[in-house]
């Protein structure tokens, strides 16, 4: 039969490609990261980004990034992209998330109404070297661990766990059938079982260790050992208790995610006026369309038709049946709503729609998409519409995606937007409240998830061959992460000083 122009190399060729990649970038080449000599001023990079943002929200962005080195890191994807460009790469590409830090993983409802754990932010997505995502993920664990006051050993352990999970998962995907990789996902039942086994594991492991220790010590110095054992026992009990509490908290997040829907959003974001719902004004975070007209130089009479025009354009990007479903809803109100950390100041809106009646709401979120921070280093997207770039990248990486993903252009056609559901059982962990054990578990599921996302578009056989079966890659990336966490702290300090000196304006606590 005739063959399409898509290469289908043999397994051996793919393995060989992975092994050859080590000549380009040995596993240990990822260690000993140092900032490049011509490294741009990180504050200047942020200022550059600020010029494209809504001026009144730029201080809010700075304020959110100022909270801690961890929040700074979340907002500094552009800085890290510039640093990654000088790091060694194996030349094995996959669709990248582009901003795979640990808070960009989370749980959300699939089209078949199962709670799935997956990546959930694709603003920076582009095809590129797989290491970029791994490094951004791994460093985020080091930074988050430090932020939580964990010991160096615990920070290293969490970071290492994320990379090892990535490597081991990739080894699994290298063995799997094409469709099996595509369908692979992590759902609520598996998450709950995982959390429980971690908690149970602590209890079991400690009991085993305790008995062994007791026997050993008693043989040597009976009295002293007894005292020490009692102390140890107390510490173990405390850790067991902490694990149980953390496990409960994690499960609560999953349970709570189920309640996070449009109806709940309605009670939080909207009020009833003359029997009609409208979005409540909470400036500068939520500014309803009725108050925004002036900002964009539009009269209220112009806002409604403009909104409807964009809505129509967006609807045309949906699959036929979903377009039909959306036609059962009508627009009730719209507002500008600030979200995230790094993306604060990009244009972001919400639209309130209603179906059969006022108690059948649907919130859609419209977010501006600009060029990916990776674009200068990995090349332009094949999608000229950045909203489309985000949506296609998201579908490529996620096991299952929101049925309402779509895109449109702004009134100013140079501005691009993507659309999605605002609250569809989305749940995210409170990283800052995590104990070391919880972070370790979280690192494992993030590593697995990133590997799955890469295996869909990249070549799992080649990447697996490159990573190898030893822990060389894991320790190299962990070393990188520590060094990068140090750099991030230095950048953070510079940033804070820039605010203090008046170079940057910041509003805190918003």
């Amino acid at each position: 039969m005739a063959v399409r122009k898509v290469a289908h190399p043999s397994i051996d060729d793919r393995k060989a490609k992975g092994l050859e990649a080590r000549d380009r970038a040995s596993l240990s080449s990822h260690t000993k990261w140092r900032p490049a000599g011509d490294r741009p001023d990180p504050v200047a990079l942020l200022e550059e980004q600020d010029t494209t943002r809504e001026p009144d929200l730029v201080p809010v962005r700075h304020g959110r990034m100022m909270v801690s080195p961890f929040t700074f890191y979340r907002g500094a994807a552009k800085i890290m992209a510039a640093d990654l460009k000088d790091t060694p790469v194996a030349g094995l590409d996959a669709q990248l998330c582009g901003d795979a830090h640990l808070s960009n993983f989370g749980a959300f409802a699939s089209p078949e109404r199962v709670l799935l754990f997956d990546l959930n932010d694709f603003d920076e997505t582009l095809p590129g070297p797989f290491e970029y995502d791994v490094k951004r993920m791994a460093a985020s664990f080091t930074i988050a661990a430090r932020n939580n006051g964990f010991s160096k050993v615990n920070a290293q352990a969490a970071t290492l766990a994320s990379v090892r999970a990535y490597r081991e998962a990739m080894a699994g995907f290298a063995q799997m059938g094409t469709m099996d990789i595509w369908y692979a996902h992590l759902d609520e039942d598996e998450l709950r079982a995982g959390i429980r086994s971690v908690v149970a594991g602590t209890a079991k492991q400690e009991k085993g260790a305790k008995q062994q220790e007791k026997a050993d010590k008693q043989a040597k110095a009976p009295k002293k050992a007894e005292k020490r054992a009692a102390k140890q026992e107390k510490a173990d009990r405390e850790q067991e208790k902490a694990a149980k509490t953390a496990g409960k908290r994690a499960e609560k997040i999953l349970t709570k995610a189920h309640t996070r829907d449009s109806l709940q959003a309605l009670s939080k974001l909207a009020e009833q006026v003359d029997g009609q719902y409208r979005i409540v004004s909470q400036p500068p975070i939520v500014v309803p369309a009725r108050d925004l007209a002036a900002t964009y130089g539009l009269s209220p009479d112009q806002v409604v038709p403009a909104l409807h025009e964009q809505f129509r354009a967006y609807r045309a990007t949906l699959q036929d049946d979903r377009r039909h479903l959306l036609e059962r809803f009508e627009i009730v109100d719209a507002a500008r709503k600030v979200v995230g950390v790094g993306s604060v100041g990009t244009r972001a809106f919400i639209i309130l729609l209603q179906g059969r009646d006022a108690r059948d709401p649907l919130f859609l979120q419209i977010k501006e998409a600009t060029a990916s921070v990776l674009e200068p280093y990995v090349g332009k997207s094949r999608y000229r519409q950045h909203g489309e770039r985000v949506v296609q990248g998201q579908r490529m990486m996620q096991a299952a995606s929101d049925i309402y993903l779509g895109w449109s252009k702004g009134l100013d056609v140079r501005r691009h937007f993507y659309w999605r559901q605002l609250r569809d059982m989305k749940g995210s962990v409170d990283v800052e409240a995590m104990i070391p054990l919880g972070l370790m578990y979280y690192a494992r599921i993030c590593g697995w998830t990133l590997a799955r996302a890469h295996a869909r578009s990249g070549d799992p056989v080649a990447i697996d061959a490159y990573l190898g079966t030893g822990d060389a890659f894991d320790t190299s990336i962990t070393d990188f992460s520590e060094r990068y966490a140090d750099q991030n702290e230095r950048d953070y300090e510079k940033f804070v000083n820039a605010v203090k000196s008046g170079r940057l304006e910041a509003v805190e606590g918003v």
Binding site: M1, A2, V3, R4, V6, H8, P9, I11, R14, S110, P111, E112, R113, V114, Q175, M176, G177, T178, M179, W182, Y183, S262, L263, Q276, R278, A289, R290, V303, V304, H308, F311, R312, R315, A316, Q319, D320, D321, R323, H324, L325, E327, R328, E330, I331, V332, D333, A334, G355, R356, D357, D360, L362, Q392, R395, M396, A399, A400, R456, S457, V461
Partner: protein
């Protein structure tokens, strides 16, 4: 800022396929789903008003003298777009029994349904909702869902047409398996009542909850008596494991010259020439590929074509061109089967309005997505030599019941089907209006029960007509 419901005309199927451009049709407007009126009151009123168009009692009538077409001629007219050599096989299969005839005679029933008054309450019809067109299959997230399948005839139309085809199929299937008439009647009542009850539930449900509503394998099992549940779930599990691409690979292929080949089984599976294979890939699949969502296109690109054969499947669709294609993933032991099936106009188009889709494959795929809760990720369409096709996965854990399996539990199975049909209709129709039309009493259910019985009789007469014509040599028939 609340504005009136704004609906631009949908931008067609937006098909980038070579033949996806909407063909100019003969100036008639195309079949479309209606907008919903704004308020519940208006929606209820629309349902009540529909009773004036077609009373519920009269739905139970069947007037043979008013059908306005001859069953045999309708069957023969369908042969025009089919492979001439396969047409006799179609006749033979339909002549086997009234049940087989019923499955193959969707066009006859479409003409008959259209000859009677209808409610005008439009939904996306499955178009061929007979009892064996309900089954289990694996969803994109690997749940086992109970849903309608086979959307060759899908088109917007009055909801009761699907209900009637479903109800009559229960009676025809029951007679085939010597189920007592009283039991058959009870199954119809159970199925139609399940439809009515379920529709009532959708009246107060938010739009998205209706959209996401699904029947999974576990809940299907609950429709059966506790004593049966174990057996049903064992049967499902056994089939689920066997009916996969890997299972089909083991069953349908042999190695030849170091490459897997789909085995021949004439006339059911025949190999095709290199030219035909080249056209299939170069034209049909090239166009199909572009109708896939982009992430799935990149998944599709991970597979290489290995072999293709021509297939004969089903009863009514025998003679329509069907290809079975074998692909291999990038690792060994990684087969994927796709089925490519010719699509003509829906049998309802002659009686309602033409589809708004330029490609009949696009009509089938988009109809399927509207009706099913979740749809195969590899559905798409294309065309070849002026004929339209749709593509789907072959044996993706699909589990189709058989009549002898369901006959002893007809009422339970009918209940599951009735609920599923209501769910399918609520997605595209107006549950408030349909519920208002159906009402609270047994009137609708009784009428459909009467119709089902009368139409099963008619079906027997039509089947006998075909058998006579074959015996007289007026119609060709070949075993296959």
């Amino acid at each position: 800022m609340r504005a009136s419901r704004d609906r631009s005309p949908a931008p067609g199927d937006r098909s980038p396929a070579p033949d996806g451009q909407a063909r100019p049709r003969d100036g008639r407007s195309s079949a479309a789903l209606p907008d919903l009126p704004a308020t519940d009151g208006e929606r209820r009123a629309a349902g009540k008003a529909a009773r004036k168009r077609a009373g519920r009692g009269p739905l139970g009538h069947w007037a043979e003298d008013k059908r306005g077409h001859d069953a045999l001629e309708t069957i023969l007219a369908q042969n025009q777009i089919r492979v001439p050599g396969l047409v006799p096989i179609r006749h033979q299969r339909m002549a086997v029994s009234p049940w087989n005839y019923y499955r193959g005679a969707a066009a006859v029933m479409a003409g008959d349904l259209a000859s009677q008054p209808n409610s005008g309450l439009m939904v996306q019809l499955c178009g061929d909702a007979h009892v064996l067109n309900f089954g289990l299959w694996a969803t994109p997230e690997r749940n086992l869902a109970f849903d309608l399948r086979d959307f060759d005839e899908t088109l917007p139309g009055p909801f009761e047409w699907d209900v009637k085809r479903f109800a009559a199929s229960l009676v025809v299937a029951a007679r085939e398996n010597r189920v007592k008439p009283a039991k058959a009647a009870a199954a119809v009542t159970a199925g139609v009542e399940a439809y009515r009850r379920r529709m009532r539930r959708y009246v107060a449900m938010p739009e998205l909850d209706i959209w996401y509503d699904a029947v999974h394998a576990d809940s299907l099992i609950n429709f059966f008596e506790p004593a049966d549940r174990g057996r049903v779930s064992v049967h499902i599990e056994k089939k689920r494991r066997r009916r996969t691409s890997r299972g089909a690979f083991a069953k349908l292929t042999t190695m030849a010259h170091g490459r897997p080949r789909i085995t021949e089984d004439p006339p059911l599976r025949v190999t095709i020439g290199d030219d035909e294979q080249a056209d299939l890939v170069g034209q049909l699949l090239a166009g199909y590929r572009l109708t896939l969502q982009e992430d799935r296109r990149s998944l599709f690109d991970r597979f290489t074509e290995v072999d293709a054969v021509r297939q004969v499947v089903g009863v009514g669709s025998v003679g329509m061109r069907v290809y079975l294609l074998l692909f291999e993933g990038r690792t060994g032991d990684d087969p994927l089967f796709l089925q490519v099936k010719q699509a003509g106009p829906s049998v309802y188009e002659a009686h309602t309005r033409p589809s708004r889709h330029g490609n009949h494959g696009a009509r089938v795929v988009n109809g399927k997505r509207l009706v099913q809760t979740a749809t195969d990720i590899f559905v798409g369409w294309g065309s070849l030599h002026g004929r339209d096709y749709y593509v789907r996965q072959f044996r993706d854990m699909k589990i189709i019941p058989s009549t002898d399996l369901i006959a002893p539990r007809l009422s339970e199975f009918a209940t599951a089907c009735g609920e599923t049909l209501a769910r399918a209709h609520a997605r595209t129709g107006d549950p408030v209006a349909i519920d208002a039309y159906l009402g609270k009493g047994p009137k609708f259910t009784e009428a459909i029960g009467r119709f089902a019985r009368l139409y099963a009789d008619q079906n027997e007469r039509d089947h006998a007509q075909l058998v006579r014509a074959i015996a007289a040599g007026a119609v060709e028939s070949l075993p296959g």
